[in-house]
Symmetry: D4
Subunit: 222 residues, 8 copies
């Protein structure tokens, strides 16, 4: 068996689930609704786990014609066959309100693939008392996803509080010297807190998938 | 108790080990040998685990006057009281020979803090048969650290082969459009393989510490 | 004879075909439909080979009033007097679905100028088995055009598999650290596979013309 | 009177002290010791306040032949006629040991021009307890100068704790994505703490002069 | 008491006024009118000073349903309970007409928080006589905010004329090499006038808040 | 057979010659002379064609202990078993004298692998008569390698004169806005001449290898 | 007399004509039609020479209510009281059709201020015969303005042909690596032709004003 | 006659003097002393005007073996057969002492080619009285060359004072956000003073050659 299916407009990788334990995820931009419909249908037929479409706008989502899916408008995520909640706990921390859409994508993907998410909002370092108030929530987590834009300082502060993996997601919020998220990205990469890791700007999806890989390793080693 | 000691030239964080389970690590650049000596002495007295100094050149290392340390010249790392080898297995993969010094830092730090390291060298994607030949080694790991410069494509290829966490370390090898490692950094951040995470250019140390955080979570959950 | 014609709004190079064996190509952006009509009419009158207009949107194409042309909407290319298929074989490989519009431009131009194109889609390195499955198709080609965005790793992998010229086309797909295609461009320029060459971001046209130059040299040397 | 003196190799602004209440400061790079000697001699003759030379290396300082000066090697500052300590209190906070040379320049200049400096070292946000331990020192200040490299997060944290002016100085410490201080600069400019101001990378001098301007306004308004 | 209130969609910092003497300010982008309404209502209930919303477009402002606010369309600022005019005098200088919207934000925020503003417009350095004509206005100020785009030279010229703090605000006016304000930002950071400080591109708000911090220190020391 | 040999410090790809018809090339930076000696010895034993070491400084070259090699100091290339001259003609054109070291690398590698090189020097576009004087030499070539720094305009001019493949090599000559070759790189990528291809800054090696790929395809199709 | 008039929304410099012999020019972006009307009316009343408005879109131009003006839509320039044609000859050369709007601004401004313009279009270096065909026109000029985007090579080629001043205007045409005109700008600044000067991207206006300054000096010296 | 001579290591353009009235100038970097000797000897034999070598360090200059030359160490320029002083007056203005080496190159080249130079030093905009004091000197000039680093504001201020051509030379002085002269370059390109032109960073040579072109046009028109 080849491990993929050629739909003409796309070559669908149908054994990723077997090969990597990764869910099947379709990146919507540049695909027409009928193409998304075709790919999702194929994936549902060839695999048994969750199937997701990310970065899908509401008008496109409405035209994807595959029964059983649910759509989260803030997260811009479509989900079929979500996994049942598992024991791996992700704490999702945001610096400010403007970071929420990116965090929402991380939350939607984590939930769809069976990770348990605990959200702490608006704990940016300009008000340290807000961050210190949620310290226990942070410490209970198996991994923390920090979503922050502008100077991205929250990642460093959290990195200094917890011992578990911290996945930093820079966001493109802000203006001027924020440089569409590049400043937060660079700041997170040079954090003074040891052992932080970073994913692409605005990629709540990548952070969720990184958490999934952690959960896989943790599960395997038990 | 304050949780730190003021040496005049430095304020030493002496409860990080307790607070985070992180080893005590001193970043050498900009510190004189006698200052490093002072800080290491203090840390050894106040904690019980491994103490490391990173990015320390051979001539400086020779002047650090604290008994019991060992020095790795390629890795530029000094270590006191290394942890015994644990069960968490890190596979450390490099794309080319020029990436080795950065990988050596990752290996030295991992080993010092008790992670078990398996090295696969020179498996850059321009010779895929070399990479496919080590697939089993990669799949056995609890986490993979990929060290690569120039276009950094190895991270994507490995990310597509394994299900465990992949920590990508861009290196500043190469010239011209390699832009001192910025190209590899950007390439790794935009990898088509889902759930990769990235650390700062040339930071074998950060990758090791990220692996340490993974090991902590894994251990806690068992 | 001067070798060009002055239409007032443009000075048309009418002997490029003689001088270089290159097809006549009009770059549409910034030109009004009636100007394109005028230039194409002039070129058809003064030369005998294919005439193309690139980057022409559907609404503009509809207003270009020259009989005998055909329009490819995905490629955004208008063609008159396409060349008959020749023996030079170009394999056109794309990393992901989002790269297709750029590849479509390359395919349309190659076909219009008489190169034979073989397409392999969606063979990004995150699923190496898909790439290895098309290895024979790649090896049969006289030249390979690799179209990829984000980290552009496919170019390196293909460069390591084939001995023929590889022309890499970075695309502006992706977001954040993809930097509108700059990341893929830099990555391809620093590929660890020897002897790759690169063209401008999103320029399927340039890749096709580079292949045309290869075909000319090959034909001349037979 | 012209307000300046032409020494041939330099046109010395001799009424800045009168015009702006600013001390006379010579920037050493690119000037020969005998030129510095000449300018300082002229300034001491034409004004009555402190005269400083900044960024002067030890070997050059040793050749500047003007009696009565004192040299601070870490700060690389030469001072004649320092002002007596005044009542304006500057708190000078650094994130890490590597930031000290820049902070030393700020301290030396502040002291020379009559500002009272209180130093708090090594209070980077990766160990928030160290920062919170000095909160009172920060709150007592009339202005805080924050010196930090890498991700520069300390500026935001301090900005959220105090009500007085905060002058952030990015430093060129770190490597890779720290981009020679550009990352810290951008991060400080996009701080989520309101009303921070920023000076050039590594410019302890600029921060001190900004504090001087604050002290002038404060003094005038009493 | 926790010092913040959780509204679900936002965690409102309700003791900033007590902690820092800073006004309560809501950054509008990314928030829905009803969310702004909720946050403002909460802030008015929990504090006693001015409450502001910045960067709020006219159509959003019209939907914010909290009595007693006033809206400045050029400044894009909503204000409730403005402070009475105080004795701290800010001179607000602009280089050209295109810089006015940013200056308007600075003026609106300054006025709302009780600073007295004196505006001098269009005094760019290409017509030095215009600048010299307002020299007295500049010298009377307790702080000067300079708003300028393109090459930002006005900040240096003003910095050389006054002894008080100068807060430079780069604007994104201009085109091409102005790089959306980055050129003005860099130019202001490298000003030859000593002791200037700089805030983010287009951030009239930050400049006003920096002036507020100055006023607080000045007031405290009297 | 595995297709590679593990020397401990390097994993040598020993079937590239068979797989791709590419010569065996060792990149010297970061390798010790004894490592280069070991790798070259292995390659000579396992293959039959040319073996090259590039970017090798004179002092390192002198310590490489493998009989039969020849060293070109300007090109910084070591060669064993050069191929006999073949019929594929490369014209190597440089814009200025400062570009010669990069061109020398291209020439040395081309010659070592059996391509016939014709050099035209110093034909930058600021003196078009010099370029037009060599037009026939350019037209006779099967491929042209253009080596130019600063604004790299020679590539466009040559691209407009010949019909064969043009491989542009940007060089890091010049200063200031030349940005270490980035300007030439960008200029060549955006050339108005159709079908040019570009390699990394200063990489005469890449250009030669790209020419080799052309020669392979040409030979195969005869 | 003050030399300027304060209209409330703008401080109009009314003696620039006397001081510098420069025409009065209003930059339209950010100004409302009624403001432009007011400024133009003031300038016409206070001076006697040409008055221009640049970068004014057609819909705004239609609302500027000052009699006697003429509007050039391609150039986006409004002119009142154009100067009579003078003897200073500017040759305006463009590389391609897409550069015309910028050249049109240069032409409109030159003509309005009394310079005589000779246009040569579409003489990009990819077709050198087109450039050489206009060599005499270029040599007759007192100054040449070269308008080119992408790699901007035309400036170097022209700079090598003529002895008079060459003012290079980079344009933002092209895509990808053209970087919105930055590539052309950098290329022109590093031209191998000696003594070229460069103005801002897309600034036909600046080039015309630079030519005006040349004409002033030339006239004065006769 | 071909118009150039091939020396093997260089193709010397020997009719530039005839073709363009430009002096013969050799750029030293990358050339060996004996090569410079050969080129200069050839140029002196084939032309009659001044011959210059630029950017030549003292140790290299000492080895150039051609009688009759004079060397300026600060300017790093070698000159043979300087032109007699002409009537074209260049005013050379510098912002600070650190800009002098670049200005010295401009002065040496101007003088060698027969332009009369008037120097005004250290007139940076932070002390406007110094600039206004030299206003008459500036107004007497036929062209002004402004040499300034950091924020480069002097160019704008001078551009607003004089009517003649202003050639701005950014310098790489300063540190941090000065970005090796890029900030000054960008600032000068976006000057609010109309009609300024700009040359490459640190290129006193280019400014002098631009002035030479002005002088040629002026002379021709008399």
């Amino acid at each position: 068996m080849s491990g993929f299916t050629d739909l003409g407009y796309a070559r669908v990788d149908t054994d990723r689930e077997v090969r990597q334990g990764l869910p099947e995820v379709v990146y919507a931009p540049g695909k027409r609704p009928e193409e998304i419909t075709g790919i999702v249908t194929e994936l549902l037929a060839r695999s048994t786990g969750p199937v997701l479409v990310t970065r899908v706008e509401a008008d496109v989502a409405a035209q994807v014609d595959v029964p059983g899916g649910s759509y989260d408008e803030t997260a811009r995520v479509l989900v079929w066959r979500p996994a049942p909640p598992g024991s791996f706990r992700v704490c999702l921390a945001t610096a400010g309100t403007a970071d929420w859409p990116v965090a929402a994508e991380a939350e939607a993907v984590c939930t769809a693939i069976g990770l348990t998410v605990d959200v702490v909002r608006d704990v940016g370092v300009a008000g340290l008392h807000r961050l210190l108030a949620v310290r226990e929530q942070l410490e209970r987590a198996d991994a923390v996803i920090v979503v922050a834009g502008m100077e991205g300082a929250l990642a460093s502060a959290v990195g200094g509080l917890v011992e578990c993996p911290v996945i930093a997601v820079p966001t493109s919020t802000g203006y001027g010297a924020a440089l569409e998220g590049v400043t937060a990205l660079l700041a997170m990469l040079t954090s003074c807190a040891a052992g932080l890791t970073v994913v692409n700007i605005d990629s709540g999806f990548s952070a969720a998938m990184a958490a999934h890989r952690l959960a896989r390793t943790t599960a395997r080693r038990r």
